[in-house]
Symmetry: C2
Subunit: 314 residues, 2 copies
């Protein structure tokens, strides 16, 4: 049994590898809402695909492990392969929260029945997928935001991704927090209420008590649910348009910090990032490319590189 | 037994009052760090004073009630009065969190052994104390921030006070959150590190992992502990000075929204508010007065007004 881990997408740990024959390579992409697994043969041919519940490590390593296992098992069922054994499987995983070293260690411990395991953050596998493992940069802005780059010298850089409530500038939660702050200020008369405030109130409540109760229950995900409202009213509400410009500037800042020379191809992804693309500066837009693949492609690339390093695939 | 409540410092509820003779009037000021009680006679003479643990209702109504009871009991001990009975006591309380109606109801239920109880938020009792119950305005900026005013027509207005992490602009937690955001951005190279970033790192850690771990544990109070660092480096760090100016503008905005005509006397209080006073606009500074009394004075005023309404004091 060999565990090959990219802990926190920074360090690579290689443990002794058994020589048992690997027959299957599986790529897994896991986050706060779901897990997707693609089953492939050693030669790369895709055999099956399945989805399961969330596997963000911050929501609990046991839940993550349960849903990852289920996605893998169901990918075999999808491929109508009944006779398989974890000892024949090498899995590459990009999981939200793998950036926290203690989460990664706990997860790898649970995963030890597989022949080979390589774990990285979902941001890193998205980066690997987007640029086929070659040097490149990516800014992902969904519920949270982070920028990652693989430099020509092999260095892995990342910018942002500090999480709710302080970091993740330009993300959905960040937009939602400012939309709520604006609403609070309008309700008590510090600013005038426009279309954005009315939209937030239609979701979170009109009165001070209703809004306070909503905020008391709300976390990162609840604030991110307000972000689409900002886009909905951007033509009708000056403040909403300014807020989207500020979010785009945050994405710009992350992209520039990832690659000050502006030589790397750049992918902007995530539901918020994609909608902010038209607002990015020409300098950053000039670097934009379409992603070559997704986070599952990246996870497969991650594990195949490790298998190649061990001479298991060529 | 009569409970007289100012729930959420908005509503006044008067329940049937018994005619038993009230001998003692007690003022209580309670927040997230401690509770202070002053025992007075019906004619207003002070007899005793005591302190106890926190009684912010958001930290749990049972804890609040235990500490309020202890502060009251110890104020009798301080006055060397052994022979007393809750049925002879009227208490006025200004407690953090009383703005939430469900908290107030639960607290009042626990307090029902006292003859008379009047409950308001600590902000409202601070306002009553600062201006002797007359029309006036106050902005309090400590861990959180809120502005309250009593208008000449008797209306009670409040602005801000929406709490962590969205509201409470210009407060200690707000300053600390921006100081941490600046530190995150400096650590990953989006901005240059100055004296403020170094000061935050000396408290919260130098590396990405240390800072992430600090932020994962941190809440409103932890962020507020960073605020004094911003003042410490204000002459050495341009960003820190800008941040303090932004905090002062937030206080200005609250003060103006409380009283657009600028006719009411204004008190700025709280550890952060007092330090921001020199940065307020001339327009707002022109309205500043010294507070006539503190939140205990306000709590005593609150309960005495109710007792006067019932003809128990004149």
């Amino acid at each position: 049994m060999g565990i090959l881990a990219v802990i926190g997408s920074f360090e690579t740990v290689s443990l002794p590898t058994n020589r048992r024959r690997v027959r299957y390579v599986i790529g897994v992409d896991g986050g706060g809402t779901g897990t997707r697994a693609r089953l492939t043969r050693l030669d790369g041919e895709a055999l099956g695909y399945a989805q399961a519940g969330p596997s963000a490590l911050g929501q609990g390593v046991e839940q993550a492990w349960r849903n990852v296992s289920q996605a893998i098992e169901h990918s075999f069922r999808d491929a109508t392969v009944d006779d398989w054994d974890p000892g024949e499987c090498a899995i590459g995983l990009g999981l939200a929260g793998a950036i926290v070293a203690s989460h990664s260690r706990d997860f790898l411990h649970a995963a030890s029945r597989y022949a080979h395991v390589a774990l990285a953050s979902d941001g890193f596998t998205t980066l690997l997928g987007a640029h086929k493992g070659k040097p490149g940069a990516i800014v992902i802005a969904g519920t949270g935001s982070i920028g990652e780059a693989l430099l020509p010298n092999g260095t892995h850089v990342f910018i942002g991704g500090w999480g709710y409530p302080i970091g993740d500038e330009g993300s959905g939660a960040w937009l939602g927090m400012y939309a709520m702050r604006r609403t609070q200020q309008a309700v008590d008369g510090r600013v005038s209420a426009g279309a954005l405030v009315r939209a937030v109130q239609s979701v979170a409540g009109n009165t001070r008590d209703e809004l306070l109760a909503w905020c008391e229950r709300a976390g990162q995900h609840a604030y991110a649910t307000l972000a689409p409202l900002v886009f909905d009213v951007e033509t009708a509400d000056t403040y909403a348009a300014e807020l989207l410009n500020a979010a785009a500037r945050s994405i710009d800042d992350i992209a520039v910090a990832l690659d000050a020379d502006g030589t790397l191809p750049l992918v902007v992804s995530g539901s918020i990032g994609q909608r902010l693309e038209p607002r990015l500066t020409p300098r950053v837009r000039a670097r934009l490319v379409e992603p070559a693949g997704d986070a599952i492609d990246g996870a497969l690339r991650l594990i195949r590189e490790r298998l190649r390093g061990d001479g298991i695939v060529s």
